[in-house]
Each structure stands twice: as structure tokens, then as C-alpha cells.
Symmetry: D2
Subunit: 283 residues, 4 copies
């Protein structure tokens, strides 16, 4: 009656525990979001509703998984940082990857209509995910800087939901002629009625100043673009002081609690991390 005859198949399972005392970074990426963004007619280069749906998913992740401390999202990707001491699912990589990406996806589909009340889902959105461990705070900050820098160089202008694949991005990073400004220009020219190849021709050989001039002519001031387009989004937990009540003397009684905050900050420089020192502190 027992199942013991077949139990041996369990011996083929492989332990995939992530190294203790390291920061676990989980990166979720849209799968085939180039097509997905076309099919659902996302605005290029940035579709604010699509970005806000991603941010809502990230916020929900913080409600569901208490060991998350920080996340950074741009376009169709989101990186989540678990605290160094987390014992979430015993640090088993498959469990962490599958449960989080499944939750993220579920929320994305459930909330779609809240952000796109006028659009039905025409295809099945899905995401991939992976974990990477980083042994020190310095390196996890470099990881986050890498994602923001990468975005800054390549991704924004390619359309929020048309990220280059990694190899292409890497190739371009050597060539170095693609950046935000280029792409913002590119898409503004498209918007103004140019074809893709006309826009490319117009931009060929232009310098920073030339492109600013083009943007100016098109009525755009790059630095006036909303921060969400220029910086991506951070969702994180931070300690905030709240007034709970007033005592008999009319003095406020405060309490500090962790609150989930969404913002669009520079996370490459030191300022953000000094202002929010508790996020990556070592405990």
C-alpha cells in the first residue's frame, strides 16, 4: 500500500539553497513584451499606465513578501532585493523564483483592468525571473546602479516595453551612440509623423546639442520629462514617523513604522542611500 517503491525518484531532486548571509536579488523580466506592447498599443517611448501597473505589482510584492527591502523597476523589468538574513523558503532558489514570479504575474493580470479599463488582454502576459546573490552592500548597490545606468543608456528611449535584449544592449554599449536623449528624439520624430528610417536619418551624426535643438523644435525639454520616465521606479520599505494621537497636554505621540514607498530617484549616487541608510543596513 505504501508508496515506497517509487519514493526513490525524490533522490534526483537537487538542493538549490542560496548562500546564507548574502543579499538575494530577484530580477523579473517581461517575456516577449516587445510583441505584447505592440499588441496592446503601448505609447512609445513610455506608456505611463503600463509603468504604473508594473509599480502596483511591485508594491503588492512588498505586502506579500515581508523580507523584501528594496526594488527598482524600469520598462518591463523589476529587480527585488531580499534582506541578507532572509530565510524565505529556506533560501531555495526555485521556490523563491517560482513563487514570486507567479504572484507578480497573477497580480498583473488581475489588476490589468484597473490600469487599462478600455483594453482587454489580447495575449497572455508572462515573465521570467532569476536570482543572483551578492555578498556585500557595495556590490548590491553596484547591481542597482547597473540597472539604472543600463536603462539610462539604452532602454528608455527604445520604448518602455521594447527593451533591447541583453546582447544587443551590450553591443550598443561599446558603440555608445544610443542613449535616452537619442531615443527620446527618435520617438518624438516618429510622433511628429516621420517614419522610422526618416527618424534614424535625421539623427545620424547628431551631437548632444543638435538633439536638444531637435527636441526643442518639437516642443520637448528632456529634463522636464516626468521622473518616472527618466529615472525608473523604486519601491522600498522605509521607517516613517507617524503621529498616533495627542496626549493630554496636546503633544503628539509618535510611532515609527515601516511603510512601502514608491519614488523615482537617482540610486547611482550616494545621496539616496545616505538618506535611507536603514534599507541596506547590515543588521
Amino acid at each position: 500500500m505504501a508508496n515506497s517503491k517509487y519514493e526513490y525518484v525524490k533522490s534526483f531532486e537537487v538542493e538549490d539553497k542560496l548562500m546564507p548571509s548574502t543579499w538575494i536579488v530577484l530580477r523579473i523580466d517581461g517575456r516577449h513584451f516587445h510583441q505584447f506592447s505592440d499588441k496592446h498599443e503601448f505609447k512609445k517611448p513610455n506608456d505611463e499606465r503600463a509603468l504604473e501597473l508594473m509599480n502596483a505589482c511591485a508594491e503588492a510584492m512588498f505586502e506579500e513578501f515581508p523580507d523584501l527591502v528594496f526594488s527598482y523597476g524600469v520598462s518591463d523589468e523589476y529587480s527585488f532585493v531580499f534582506k541578507k538574513t532572509t530565510e524565505f523558503y529556506n533560501r531555495r532558489s526555485s521556490k523563491i523564483v517560482s513563487i514570486t514570479v507567479s504572484f507578480f504575474t497573477s497580480f498583473y493580470v488581475m489588476k490589468w483592468k484597473d490600469f487599462f479599463p478600455d483594453k482587454d488582454l489580447k495575449s497572455i502576459p508572462s515573465f521570467d525571473a532569476r536570482t543572483v546573490c551578492y555578498p556585500s552592500t557595495k556590490i548590491v548597490r553596484d547591481y542597482l546602479a547597473w540597472r539604472q545606468k543600463n536603462f539610462d543608456l539604452h532602454l528608455l528611449g527604445k520604448g518602455v516595453f521594447i527593451p533591447m535584449d541583453y546582447k544587443l544592449a551590450t553591443a550598443f554599449s561599446f558603440v555608445g551612440h544610443i542613449n535616452n536623449q537619442y531615443n527620446t528624439c527618435f520617438w518624438k520624430l516618429i510622433e511628429s509623423g516621420k517614419t522610422k528610417s526618416e527618424a534614424q536619418d535625421r539623427l545620424k551624426g547628431t551631437q548632444t546639442q543638435d538633439k536638444n535643438e531637435i527636441l526643442f523644435q518639437l516642443g520637448v525639454n528632456y529634463s522636464d520629462l516626468p521622473a518616472i520616465f527618466r529615472k525608473g521606479s523604486c519601491v522600498f520599505k522605509d521607517k516613517v514617523e507617524e503621529i498616533v494621537k495627542y496626549n493630554e497636554n496636546g503633544q503628539p505621540v509618535k510611532r515609527s513604522r515601516n511603510k512601502v514607498i514608491t519614488d523615482h530617484c537617482d540610486i547611482i549616487g550616494d545621496k539616496f542611500w545616505k538618506d535611507h541608510a536603514s534599507i541596506l543596513e547590515d543588521e
Copy 2:
């Protein structure tokens, strides 16, 4: 301008390629489906609509991922077998796990209303997933037998969406007093108005015959239950012959093609595998 200063963080990524020339089994499990089934008032021990939604997800997987050859599902779990030679995402485990569970979840949420038109989703369904590799056909068949046997012994009766967790199931497998019949009895008694502890008391010490008698009094014949409840579900690709047209002599012109089939079979014995020899053939 280049991103090279931070590129080094990529060196922390770990290769997780699964061994070539082995069968990759992916198992997807509902997360917190005990609560989920309570919240959505699934019928105990079996909710046909809930099972059919799972099956629909499995069928969609076969449409999306052409290297799948077989799957077996029961309760809130589904095991998928990729062909031995698959190069799906270069056999990278994180990619396979995340993309499939994300797709499965997405489809589950999108199709919910087709199966439960009268019920809104009250919580966020999510699944975990893992991969295991098996080096031979014999062992992958033993894996599938293990899942069906396990189900047969423990899970069905606990309510389709109330699977025991593994440890509990293992514990019971030694005790051995829990099985389909017990659970079918248990839930029928509940249905007839008993409380859980009354039902337990009524069944204490009963033998197979006693339980059959109870079921009979409640108007149930266990072997008359639908196969989906007794056997779980198989979704697989099989070669079928189809008549494409009739030629000038009125003779049928046939063509063989792979068709996705859903059935409820015994996959422990040899018969099924002899009848469908192409599924696990070694190429």
C-alpha cells in the same frame, strides 16, 4: 558613458543548465491552496470546475511550449515532462521554471471566469515550481507512477484543493489509515450534515467494508465516481491519423499529426505506455 564600471556584477550570475539528454520534469504546485479552496468554496473532496481549470492551463502549456510531451495533474499540482532532447531556453533551470509557472498562472487568472462565471477571485492565486531531471524512461515513468500512487493513497480524499503537505503525507503513508475511500466517506458525511469531528468519530476503526456500507447508505458507489476524481488527469501529445480529404476514387487521404489529448488513465501499469509508445520514445 559605457556601463562597464558596473558590468562586473554579472559575474555573480550562476549557470544553472540542466544535464543534456535527460527528461526534464517540471512540477507546478498551488501555493496556499488550502486557504484558496476554502475562500472560493470549492466542493470537497472534488471540485470539478477547479480541476477543469487546471486541465485547461495544462492544455495551454502544450500549445505554448512545443517540447512538452506529457503531463499529469491531480488536485492543485501538475507535472510536465519535456522531451529528452529539448533545448528550451538552453535547459536553464531558472528560465524554464519561471517562464512556465508565470504562463500557467497568467492563464489560470485569465480563464477563471470561464470556469467560475459566478465567482470573483477573492485572493491572488499563485503556484510554485521546480525542475527535476531523470536520466532514463524507466525512471520518468516511476516518477509519474509516484505522483499517481501518492494521489491515490492520500490526496484525493483530502479535497481536491486541500492536498496534504508532503511531510504530512509521508507521515500518513506509514500510518496508512488515510485513503481515497476514507476521505470520500469523510466528505460525504460532512455533506450529509455531520461536523468534522462527528465524521471522524463515525469512521474511527472502520474497515474497507464498513466504509463501503456507509457510502452505500449515503447513495455513493466509489467505483462509479468519474475517472477524473479517481485517476487524475493526463494531458499529452499523441500522433493521430486524420482524414484530410477524399481522393478521386473516394478513398480517404490520411495524415498523421500531433494532437493534444486530455484523459484520465492509469499511468502506473504498462498498458497506457504500450498504447502510446511514441510519447516517451527515445528518438
Copy 3:
């Protein structure tokens, strides 16, 4: 008093169990053996005593580790095949790698004087090692064919203890102008008094026939070279029938037992494996 305060460091150990039911191949390679063979004045292209010391080490491995079934050695490398069902050190890769390479090295140093009574060890011989798993008999045979073919193409002629490093060998495999015959020629020319560049010049542009002619003039018939030089060495366990005693009627009483055999065979074709079918049989 207890050590529990520090015990947590054990949680950083990583499980490295090799997949069950697969053939474990262990490959041991000389480290810096180019220098080592120069320093100990090994004969080029082949030093018979050096090869025989390697074979003696392989034979000792078979005495020490009963789950070995076959091994193939050439130059300063040796590949060992463990039976598919071995539970040697629980199939933990680090244990297998370290224990075997340590034993092999120990034996090499201890037996050095038996093979080189006239030479002291002038530097510290050491080896590296790795494990690879193969899921089927066909693939493990292809692995062994790969080692013998590789040798045949590139290694022999480069001097038994001057194997090319892998990258170089790969590069040459595309160029394809290096092989046994070339190298045998090359070293024979050196032996006859030519410098290395004179020998290279002499061979430039020669065809098979030209080289045979050169060898013939130098008094060498390639196919007359000892098999150990042309084929490498196999050490394996095989069933042999032995006469234990004679019974009262004078009839021999036989017993079959496993005996360790060293030979120099072609292991690319089928013949050897048909003649020794029990070696890689699946149990």
C-alpha cells in the same frame, strides 16, 4: 562549552551530489607536465616508463575503489568510469574528486623509484581532476571515443608528456594538419639530429605518403610502433574464468571472477565493447 556558537558556519557548505543512475567519469590530468617531463628528461614523443607508471597508478585505483569499471589513459591524463549505480561517498563530487586524485598522486610518488630507479624526483608532481556525469551507455562510449580520437589526432606526437592544452588542441582540430604521423616524424627527425625548426621545415607541405617515406628512411614503420604508443591504455575489470582445482575425475573446476586487465585497444569501434559486454552493462 559547546561549539554551537560557531556551528552555523556549516550552513555555508554546498551539497554537490551527482545525479543518481548516471555514469560518473573522473578525468585526472597532469598539472604542468610539460615542464615536469622536460625536467625529468622523458623521451619524446613517448616515454614508456612514464606511461607505465601512469598505468600502475590506474591499476592501483581499481584495487582501491571497487566501483570503477573502466579507465582509459593517454599521455598524462587518465579517465575513470564509475558504475552507474555507485554510491561511492554518496556521489558527492568534491569527495570523489579529492580522494581519487589524492590517492593517484600518492601512488605516483611512492612508485616513482620503481619505474625510474635512476632518477630522483626533482619537482613535485601534481594532478587536477574533475567529474562529469553521462546519462547513457552510448554517451559514455562517445566520451571514451573522444579521448582516444583526440589523442590520435593531436597528442601522441606532441610527446607523451607534452600534451597540448585544450584550446590549442581544438584550434588544431580545425586546421587538421597535426597528427600522430606528423609528430612521430617530427620527433624522429629531432632524434636524428635536426633542430626543431629544421624538422618543421622538412615536414612543411608533406602528405601522408611523404611522411611515411621520411619515417621509412629513418628506419621507422609507424604501424610497428607498440600499441601503447598508438592506442593509449585501457585498465578495466573483466570477468575471467579460472581453474580453481581439478576434481577427483581430473576435470578442471572453474570459477569466474573479476580481474583487473591492462590492454591497448581500439575503444572507438564496436568490437571491444561486444567482446567485453559486461563492462558497461546496465545492471
Copy 4:
């Protein structure tokens, strides 16, 4: 002619790169050294020559592998710490494990006669090895403290070359009745002519004071034992200032260089690490 038909077998090799920016600890352990120490009649509980041979091997490792920064040895085990930034063999675990254990073993056999001129090797000494990574200096220090503490509690007294196996040691660590003092007593009683069971009986129920009294009667003062017996051995690289020459004014000209030092220190407390701050510094 090319080898490409079989090259595919290389795709079964698994990448085993250790996480960058972490301390790599390599632990080498004698295999079957209980028997080995018996066969070669090592003194119990401590054989000074055997320990010194181990230390000589450790010193040779520092000459051979420049990225080693610290090592700690006791009985038949030795732990080596590679610097955090090492790129030794690309941080591939199999390479590191095999090359180091092979070198260590080779040196052990080659130098045997220097330490035991009166004894031939009667069996083949071998060692196992493994790597573990630690993400921070604190944890690598805890690892080293764990080895010294473990030794202090259990191993010394069991005879330098009769370490308990790990499970036994762990079991005892809860019971807590075995320690250095106990074992020193035990072996002194053996030395004085008692049998093993007589010695055990004599020590049953004794307290610290009683055992000191026994040792005193046997003419032993535990704290007078050489540090190598009480503390184990550290081999490490440290910066030392050396006088290179004297200048024209007769003033010494100094230079700092890395020197390999062997000592027997407490490495659990802070003092050693403060005095040698450069060893584990983060660069």
C-alpha cells in the same frame, strides 16, 4: 578527421565557479588516518613528527599558491583560506580542490622520510578536500574559531591522528564530557600501563580538579604541554620589516615583505587578528 562527432560530450561538463568576492576556504582531511596512524605507530595523543610533516605541507602550499593568506591545522586536517579576490583557476571548485589536495599529498609522501627517517610508508596516505565560501571576514573568522574550538573540545585528546568522525564529535559536543583534559589524562593512563577500559573506569565521574590531580600524579602539567598540542598550528603570510642594508650614515634601510610564518596561537579571540590585521583585510 576532426573530432567534432564526439565533441558534444563536453556539453555535460558543469560549471562550478565559486561566488566572486567571497573568502574561499579549502579543508583537507586525512582519509582513514585512524588506521594510518596505527600502522605507522604514531604517538598518542600527539605525535610531534606527524604534526610537523603536516605543517611542512602547509608551508609548501603557501610557496606554491600565492593567493593563500591563512591556514589552520590540527591533527590530520588543515584549513586554507584564499584571499577574497583570488582568481585562482577562475575560482572553479573542482580545479581548486583537486590541484591543492594533489599537491599537498605529493609533498606529504615526498617529505615523509625527512620526518620519519626510521619508518617506511606501509600504506598509501590520502586526503579528501572540499571548498566552502564565506561572504564576510566575520564569518571566516567564525569558521576558524569553529575548527580550533572543535579541536579543543574533542580532538586533541583522541590522539592527533585519531580524530573522531564528525557525527561522533557533534554527539559529544552535546554530552560535553569529553575534552582535552579528559583525553590527555586518558592517554597518560594508557602510557602508564593501563588498558583502555581501566583508563575509562578511572576517569568515570571525575571533575576538572580530579583529573588535574591524576595528571599531576603522572607528572604532567596540562598547561606545560607544547602549544602545538594545545592550540594546533597556524601557517600564514605576514608583512615583516627587514633590514636590507645600512646606508652611508650607518642607518638601517628597511623593506617590508610577505613572509610565511608558522605559529601556535589562539585564533578564537580578537588579539591575534588585531596583531595581524593585514591577513584578512578587505583590500
